[in-house]
């Protein structure tokens, strides 16, 4: 927990300044000896606590009652979280069983998938998981079996980008997706793209500078106004010039502890379905099939 700066007051006058590693709930009364760290002046505290003079037994008693109350609340909180964890464990077991049944072909509706609907798939991998390249290769092999044509692999620090050559070698019939290449992928190949967070905000900044130059060049000498280069299509074009792919993935699979897109290029995420697949280490073929099948059933309004 972050070290917080705290002022202690008695009757409105600041008597001590210090650092606390954990903050008690605001209703508690704090003893001076719970503070640790050097005393120094800070302009604005994170918290101001009024402490009481413990020579008064009534106040000491009420502070003890307060502390016991908070301890009780903490226990209830921990108990609620144990229940939530148990729920996750049980639902995880159900999902594993279902996934096993799907991969054995026992559930009819998942046996055929209209893969044509899935033009571009993106996979976001958590940094810890990205270190295990063999798992990523296995996932890509599954995707090839299912018939996915185009896969974008993202991890925020670019670890997969560094292992690009190994992945391309180990995944059969894989080819690197070039900008113009997407229309020329032969039917039995899978095109791979490697993305990291430098392709997100920094790429937009580079594109912004291109638009700035374009605007400067277009300024009329008479009125000092340039052409309007600040539209979505212009920025799209500028991103292409910078070397970024602007394909919009239809489906994004997140392999990590949390359902979050972890910084995948924002410009491409507009209408992408984002599905959480759990951890990469324990990935399941059946869950993958289920996610893709569910995607093919989705109908979007696009806001209309």
């Amino acid at each position: 927990m972050k070290t917080r700066l705290v002022w202690l007051r008695n009757s409105g006058q600041t008597v001590a300044v210090g650092a606390a590693n954990s903050l008690p709930p605001s209703s508690a009364v704090v003893r001076l000896d719970q503070m640790s760290g050097p005393v120094y002046t800070v302009p604005v505290p994170d918290m101001i606590l009024d402490y009481m003079d413990f020579n008064d037994p009534m106040l000491a008693l009420s502070s003890w009652i307060g502390q016991i109350g908070d301890f009780g609340l903490d226990l209830v909180w921990r108990f609620i979280h144990i229940v939530v964890t148990l729920w996750h464990i049980v639902s995880g077991i159900f999902e594993s069983v279902e996934s096993y049944a799907i991969s054995l072909g026992l559930i009819q509706k998942y046996s055929s998938i209209d893969i044509e609907k899935l033009k571009c798939l993106a996979v976001v991998v958590d940094i810890e998981a990205a270190r295990d390249v063999s798992k990523v290769i296995e996932l890509l092999q599954w995707l090839t079996t299912i018939g996915v044509k185009q896969v974008g692999l993202f991890d925020s620090q670019g670890l997969l980008k560094k292992s690009k050559d190994m992945i391309l070698e180990m995944v059969p019939r894989s080819v690197l997706l070039q900008e113009t290449g997407e229309k020329h992928i032969s039917p039995d190949r899978i095109a791979l793209e490697f993305i990291s967070s430098s392709d997100n905000k920094e790429a937009v900044v580079k594109a912004a500078n291109i638009l700035l130059e374009k605007y400067l060049k277009s300024i009329h000498p008479e009125n000092g106004v340039g052409e309007n280069v600040f539209t979505e299509s212009h920025l799209n074009e500028a991103l292409r010039v910078v070397g970024e792919s602007v394909h919009v993935p239809d489906l994004l699979l997140v392999y990590g502890p949390v359902r979050s897109h972890l910084g995948f290029p924002a410009w491409r995420l507009r209408y992408t379905e984002i599905v959480h697949m759990g951890s990469l280490k324990y990935m399941r073929y059946g869950s993958l099939l289920k996610a893709i099948h569910k995607f093919t059933g989705v109908r979007q309004n696009y806001g209309v």
Binding site: K201, Y215, L216, W267, G303, V304
Partner: protein, 277 residues
Amino acid sequence: MVDQIRRMGGGVSQILEQIHGFARRCLFRVISMGPLPTHLAFIMDGNRRYAKKRGLKDGSGHKAGFSALMSMLQYCYELGIKYVTIYAFSIDNFRRKPEEVQSLMDLLLEKIKSLLDKESIVHEYGIRVYFIGNLALLSDQVRAAAEEVMEATAKNSRVVLLVCVAYNSTDEIVQAVKRSCMNKLVKHSEGGDRDIERIQLVDVEENMQMSVAPEPDILIRSSGETRLSNFLLWQTGNSQLFSPDALWPEIGLRHLVWAILNFQRSHSYLEKMKKQL
């Protein structure tokens, strides 16, 4: 006799409401023992489906959605969540049938005007309201009312409510790029002979309309859809996404509590992610 029963019924429901409120505040007290999100974002999806499901008139779905929103805001306030962002109207929504767009704009205008009321919740709870989006696309009436509310609540600081109208994340990014370019041009023309500065990431970030709030911790989209539909794409890199199946007018306390409990479980992981970037 009938009057007495009615009064008793009214009294009972009042007591039940008070018990419910007390239980809720106890639950919030327990939940507050763990980390709480600072910023919550909501995509209010499913109003039309709700109206269809219940066989109601077209506009009533949105009205039911509004009261669900008010309850959510009250819960967020009681929990002490400082920033709440809502996706009220997307630029894509302008492509809906003109009658529907007009009735949505009318509802929006009515609700915005009610915020200007002296006794409205914004002053009672100290809410500062921002309207985020391409406000030039709105009618003059709605835009003027929105600007008036922003000015009237500028001094409030307890809670910040960000209402996204005529908003698209990609449009927000383009507008931020435009503003950054214009700022660099102005600086260059004032600076004289110096070469024009290049745009940096910090320029784009500070020109984003949503820079008035920190990044969202949790983004909740109702009605089970798993996409972001061009909402806060730039800001949600470290946000946990939830998609409860309930339609927006059906969203309730249990969905919020579930989202927060799951947020508390992933909190240390998300904090680690933020530090790595």
